[in-house]
Amino acid sequence: MFTYAIRRILIAIPMILIMALFTFLLMQKTTGNFYDLLRMDPHISAEYIHKYEQLYKLDQPLLVQYFEWVKNLFHLEFGYSFYYNIPVVNVIGGRLWNTFILSFSSLIVTWGLAIPFGIWAALRRNKAVDRVIQFCSYLALSTPSFFLAMLLLYFASRTGLFPLGGMHSAHYEELSWFGRRWDLLKHLAIPVIALSVASVGSLQRIMRGNMLEILHQQYVTTARAKGLPESKVIYRHALRNAINPLITLLGYEFSALLSGAALVEIIVSWPGLGTLMLTAVRSKDIYLVMASFMMGGILFIIGNLFADILLARFDPRIRYE
């Protein structure tokens, strides 16, 4: 099990390097003009420009530049944001964390709803409850998260139930510890709902499908033949197997959430990686764009890694191959 984890981590490292390479090549398309443009901007001091030109050895051949770039990455030197006027690394950290909170909360809500609904629908197959859930799922998974976010904002504006975007209220600093958590939750509500609905729709259907398939498996009959209570048959024997394919999906799930989160973040003004990236793209702040991009990619790779290891933990067939 430990060796399996190490193996997966080792595979992740070249992935990250390739991501870095890709990002680097992408940057090459624009950095040339980028520095010229910067020189023309009166707000930016010549020393900064010079410092970064030195740092990235822009006068050297591409390969050397690439190695400098990667080396700098490991020192957490991501370049300079000319829009915010501070090194990128100072901007990214907090944003990364905020996006993570959002994506992770959505993941929990998604799983928390999809699995029970999926099981429920499978156990009451083709009855009224199942049909209703199925239709709602179609509707849910077809709803664009950004559209839902807009609708929710509109709804919030009319009812005042939720804050209209952002992450903290104006008076956040004055709140108690408890008050702050509650404030955060209120602000999380709209983006998390917007993000989760579509995921719940699709995950629920998959869960239902898995459950239905597993309930026909021989080992479920065996469990009954052993005289186990029905609850154990379903929630221990069947469920454990039905969930495994979902854990495989966890990796892609997380990436989809990350990706979707970016757009939703922008709409509700949640200060995360997505909003950061958008500002960066709009202001052509290249280093910020690339760093955000890399961060997104790394979050994804780590998420997948986690899912792989989780799967091995839950499915012995993978562990012992």
Binding site: Y219, T221, A223, K226, G227, L228, N241, P316, Y320
Partner: protein, 256 residues
């Protein structure tokens, strides 16, 4: 008489199609009764109805299943649960699919002990390797921590049998227990069943299409076709001098 099945009828609920038609047979303590037939003859359905493990689309519409003085056909689910695993256990055909792939062998046998015996945790921990040993698995301490896919086919089938005898049942229903094994392994399993019948005073209801197994293991045999029993009697007699036409056909077809 341990088990007495009288006029058992099983139909498909929606269409009324009859799968088991007024079947009669009985089984005594320490006896092996085999039910033979081709596929679709209703033998598995008959056996599964005894423990009420039928597909939800089927229902028992008539007859009685007398076991230990009770009519199982009249039991509700709760009552059936107490019978299954404890008084009547099932050994399935393909142990790779019959075992849950994500739990160890030891865990799955342990479940039977937890729900049907009063053994303490410690006692169970010792009992499990004992059971594995009884069925002829060498190195039971190691095997009990293995997952089903890590065992060979023969060992898996033995483990399945260990799971079945764990709660000391009176009757074991064995559904084609040797069909997925090669010939040498088949012989071993038959030997094992013999041994268990003697040592544990077990009765076995054997479902099979293999007349060889019938000859070697069973005391009496019922021949089924089209949902009904055409012949029922002592194994030696039926195989030597079959009375029903179908039995002859079956023996011909299987080159017995």
């Amino acid at each position: 008489m341990l088990l007495n099945v009288k006029n058992l009828t099983v139909k498909v609920a929606r269409t009324g199609q009859i799968l088991v038609n007024q079947v009669n047979f009985d089984l005594n303590a320490k006896e092996v009764v085999a039910i033979v037939g081709g596929s679709g003859s209703g033998k598995t359905t008959t056996a599964m109805s005894i423990v009420r493990l039928l597909d939800p689309s089927l229902e028992i519409t008539g007859g009685s299943i007398s076991f230990n003085g009770n009519n199982l056909a009249a039991f509700n689910n709760q009552q059936m649960r107490h019978i299954r695993g404890r008084d009547i256990a099932v050994v399935f055909q393909e142990p790779l699919y019959a075992f849950n792939p994500v739990f160890t062998i030891g865990y799955q046998i342990n479940e039977v002990l937890v729900y049907h015996t009063d053994l303490s945790r410690r006692q169970r921990q010792t009992r499990i390797p004992e059971l594995l040993d009884i069925v002829g698995i060498s190195d039971p301490q190691r095997v009990k921590n293995h997952y089903p896919h890590q065992l060979s086919g023969g060992m898996r089938q033995r483990a399945m049998i260990a799971q079945a005898i764990a709660a000391d049942p009176r009757l074991i229903i064995a559904d084609e227990p040797t069909s997925s094994l090669d010939v040498t392994l088949q012989a071993r399993i038959i030997e094992l069943f013999q041994k268990l019948k003697e040592e544990l005073s077990l009765s076995i209801l054997l479902i099979t299409h293999d007349l060889g197994v019938v000859g070697h293991l069973s005391d009496r045999v019922a021949v089924m076709t089209g949902g009904g029993i055409v012949e029922f009697g002592p194994a030696a007699q039926v195989l030597k001098t079959p009375k029903a036409e179908y039995t002859l056909e079956l023996m011909e077809a299987l080159k017995f």
